[in-house]
Symmetry: C2
Subunit: 351 residues, 2 copies
């Protein structure tokens, strides 16, 4: 391909090493990070994007507006505990909540593969409406495209969302500071394992269901109580480990967590052992970490535990100054290890 | 598929007739309209969506915010006069402009097929940045997903956008009224023909280039001049004909246009004849119609003609009361005919 006029920059991803895009470039690990840091960020450079948060917060005529987007390509479309429609609504609602915003309106854009059963589409669209009603948001604008058979995979959905951030609220990775307490909203790994179990045809004693849930109500309760929230991050692709590493790197702090306190259900733990996965890296769709000022940590934990999606919340660690940019974890046998981003693809198309 | 609890509604699209989604459901014609009217609209029902406009206008703490989204699935990714990246930026900028908004920020979400050449991605991302800079918008948030080889088609891009609508501005199909003058911003059909020529391997004397362009500057000039704009609509999928039919139906007015005044270049006309297409239905990506109060029409036309994307603007018709919901056209031989939505798919994956 010949570059057009003015396209003089050479590709910032080493072509010799990565001549084409790999599945792992979308996995939420090191290669995704490389695309963002070397390709998107330098080119699109602006203060909102540089926050490297779940959404952008814009100042509009004195109002703080949160704006976020995600495309959903989960396979299969319908899985234990949810479907792509519910995921697409909750995922974007949660990204807004992670900015400290009250979600208001969503867009919904469908890329349908020719041949998708009409009743499947109908099921998923109904599911979106149920999820939107449950989260108190309206779907106000949309788009529908259809691609030829063999050029898609049933259905991809993009949702974007807007929400209002209260004037005094400022939640972003850059606000995390030494002394902060790390709270986790519940047990991890259920969404990823629910998907993998269906794909691999694994049957467990009880069906493992996705944790897919809207988190905006819980975040609003924390904000309403005046909790000093410094950063929130939902644990999607790449799981708890990737969320912590990204925040430690952006905030240039040391995050220390204790694996012995991180809740994982027995069935998820068992499934992870069978599948050779580490639950720390498995995707969730209804879990988040909160970085909270130490004085507020106890109260924040109580509030989380009284809300259904935070019933299993736990205090899993704290933030220190050095070594900056690093996440360490006390393992189950009491040893300390460094937690890093995965270099490969653990679970493709999990969301 | 077994419906989940609470999913008791039966599918509003007749399954016997349409057991699966067809390419034409995404073509911008009758079947797209049926999906929107029977499936999305009744389920998601809210005042913004019911406007059936290019975007939603939300009231936020005294500020009018326009919010819109589109997914782009154009094939091929790079074509004469543009590429999917430029299209994804201009398309959403234009949808905001059609709401009378000043575009501010975009999101960009990529669904990449494993195996896409890294340099193609780089070319397209650069093109997005060029287009964003030209339109004066920032890309503030995004997402990257990768799907397995054979489950996508190189690259799909979703952009959503937000913009500010001035307090006194109200532009929507429902505002069109009898007496309004219909202005068209330039010659039609170039985008669709540029794409089809590449796909079909047609060579013309000169290469036909897409008209892909940002329209927000031109719309801002009209608004700044105080022109009484009642409705704006860019002519994408389904072309001029579909835009007029949709507006006539929503506003319940009669729109009469004159084919003899509608600008079509000789090369586009010739290509349409070879391909068996009617330029009225061919997609554009840098053209719009404006419905303007008659007293302002002359001045509006002058302003349009002084801006590059409106250089070929023309006054193509007017609005009457009856027959409500109908578009009629005086043809080249002077006869009057009814213009309707296409029932099939004219040009799949044009945007």
């Amino acid at each position: 391909m010949k570059p057009a006029d003015g396209f003089t920059l050479s590709c910032p991803i080493p072509i010799a090493e990565y001549p084409t895009v790999l599945l792992a470039h979308g996995g939420g690990g090191k290669l995704t990070r490389a695309l963002i840091e070397h390709m998107f960020l330098p080119l699109f450079r602006n203060p909102q994007l540089e926050q490297l948060h779940d959404g952008a917060v814009l100042e509009l005529a004195g109002t703080k507006l949160a704006f976020t987007t995600d495309s959903y390509v989960v396979h299969p479309l319908i899985f234990p505990g949810g479907d792509i429609g519910q995921l697409a609504v909750n995922g974007t609602v949660n990204d807004l909540a992670m900015c400290g915003a009250r979600p208001l309106s969503l867009s919904a854009s469908f890329i349908i593969e020719e041949g998708l059963p009409m009743e499947t589409l109908w099921h998923i669209v109904q599911s979106m409406q149920h999820a939107a009603a449950a989260a108190g948001v309206a779907i106000v604008t949309g788009d529908t495209k259809v691609v030829d058979r063999g050029k898609g995979d049933g259905l991809f959905i993009n949702t974007a969302g807007v929400g209002i951030v209260a004037p005094h609220v400022s939640i972003a990775p850059g606000n995390v500071r030494p002394g902060d307490v790390v709270l986790l909203s519940g047990d991890i790994g259920r969404h990823g394992i629910a998907i993998m179990a269906v794909r691999e045809g694994l049957a467990f004693e009880s069906v493992i269901e996705s944790d897919c849930a809207p988190l905006a109500g819980l975040v609003a309760a924390l904000l309403d109580a005046g909790i000093a929230l410094h950063c929130l991050r939902d644990l999607t692709r790449g799981g708890l480990a990737s969320a912590l590493v990204e925040i430690a790197e952006t905030a240039q702090v040391h995050i220390a967590v204790d694996e012995r306190i991180i809740p994982v259900t027995d069935d998820v733990q068992g499934a992870c052992e069978i599948l050779g996965l580490d639950p720390l890296y498995v995707a969730n769709e209804g879990r988040f970490v909160a970085f909270v000022a130490p004085a507020d940590a106890g109260r924040a934990l109580e509030i989380m535990q009284t809300h259904p999606p935070g019933a299993g919340a736990a205090r899993i660690g704290s933030v220190a100054e050095d070594p900056a940019g690093l996440v360490t974890m006390t393992s189950k046998i009491g040893a300390s290890r460094i937690v890093s981003l995965l270099s490969g693809e653990q679970l493709p198309r999990i969301c």
